[in-house]
Amino acid sequence: MGQLPNLLLAGLSTGSVYALVALGFNVIFKSTGAINFAQGEWVMMGGMVAAAGHAAQWPLGLAVLLAVVTVMVTGILSERVILRQLARPGPLVVTLVMIAIAICTKSLVMLVLGKNPASLPGFSGSTPIDWGGLRIHPQTLWIIGITCLVMVGAHAFFERSILGRAMRAVAAQPEAAALCGIDPRMAMALAFALAAATGALAGAIITPLTLTSFDYGTVLGFKGFSAAMLGGMGSLPGALVGGILLGSLESLAGGLISSHFKDAVAFLALLLTLFLRPAGVLGKGEVERV
């Protein structure tokens, strides 16, 4: 059982990444009701752009900033150039269009940045910290720390700021929000910018540990989607809970049962949750007030 703390730590670190990806899903779900299947590709693109920036001798911080800005612009352009042209941007249509955008994003990254896997150095080196027998990669602490900050920031934004509350209003009742002077299009553009930026940040901070390559996005997207479903689609604390739950389950299943069943156990847990609590652990379910 000596490895239990190690397993939990590994779960916490992978789980934080899943949580960041799930956050992107939730932000877009909140404002459009659609599932953004390009989220995983944005994470991949963030990692690839940061790595390319670093390879071009940019300082690390600037390379990460470059990644966040580039992907954010991609997100905004996807919304403005493609989604805004849709005659009826209902949730199903947006979801389908996002799958197309995901495939295009992946191909674009492959054509521009190449097929080779890329990496970044750790933000504070890669000498493991020895913490009473636990060996921790410093990047793990960066990942957990940044995830916490982003989560708190997102929570404050949606609960306290005018913009955040406006976005929630649009999601809840577009017509009423428009009558109050909120532009639903603006809210949607903002949601895409936010989701793309968090995705890019997630991609940049995990690359020192996991590497990245043009074909990494799909799996990350599915894991993030699972985490969002597990925690409850649309719930910000749900993203955090779902992500960490999924990461820990995977890690414990891999370490205590067998690595052959790692993914099976995680997805089984997801299925069970959906059977027993269809809205997710922290989801509220759909209540229509008459």
């Binding site: 896997p117 990496s119 990494y216 690595s259 790692k262």
Partner: protein
Amino acid sequence: MNAGRIARASLLAVSALLFAPFALAQGAIRIGSILSVTGPAAFLGEDMKAGMELAIEEINAKGGVRGRKIDWFFYDAESQTQKGLTATRRLIDQDKVDAIVGGGNMSGMAIAMLGLTERAGLPFMSTEGAMDIVTPVTERQWTFKSTADDEQVMERLADYFAKKGIKRVAFLGDSSGFGQSAAGQLKKVAAARGLDVLYESFNPSDTDMMPQLGKIKDSGVQAIICWTVTPAGVVFLKQAQQLGLDSRLTLIHSYGFVDQRYMQLAGDAAKNLLLISVKFPVGADLPDTDPQKARIMTLTRAFEAKFKRKPNQFVAQTYDAIYLTRNAIERAGGTDRAKVRDALAETRNWAGVGGVFNFAADRHSGLSKDDLVLVNFRDGSFHLADYK
């Protein structure tokens, strides 16, 4: 009468001599090739295609095979088995080739293709890795391959472990066909050689191997063998270093990981790593007595002159495959398919670039464990670490 017969016989002989070259040159020899130069498997395809191009150009520059030039029909399978099968049908029915060399640089595709070539009774020289391409031989009468079998690779590793007194090892293979077929072969070899093996696996797309490594760390093994061709192998190296395993245990990667890009990504996490490989990447380090050394050096020079970059072991794989086929056609005296097949099966002690090939009627895979070495990565290139 006697004189007349002699005269007639000599007339026949003279005319045979006179017309022989024309009679033999019944048009060109048609060789078809299928590789994936686009799609996910493309990172191997370009180099493998270049190896074939070079071999065919050399053969034709020297006058071809028995005076017949080689006509080469190449198709890109785009890493999709369906496209590979369409191209195979086209090679058989439309281009009417005499042999196919290269099976899409994906083992699964080569296995799908051989269903068609076996039925057509067409010699097929695969340049892919999996052992299932040539076993069971009763169902693979027309199929050969120019790569080493995992069985021989595992035997070579067992030899190394015996030499170093290593008895307990962990095998960490990815869940693809590449990793799992190697695990199957290791199980057989380990039972025969008295190795105690802990089997763990991971997905090719995994980005965290801490659970597996934690388990391996606690199990007290002396070596870890990792089997993958994906960047997950770099994560393995980095996390093993994080746990301090790289300085305590022997870490081994497969021949599929002998790639400079991966070594550069792993950085100093790869400093104690060994890789099992054909001799090609360490040609310059080989002793002069080695039968491959001169051949590797010659190919390297010719390749650099033509393509202005360094060749790798995948180039050798296809270069040898073309020459094996060419030699069989020469010995068969033409392109009669059954004769070419038999001539291939009779290839003995032919020193190619990848190793010394020995085929037999019941063994359609030519390389053996003697063609494999252990290499490491120091100062930006691969070096010989264990020779025989």
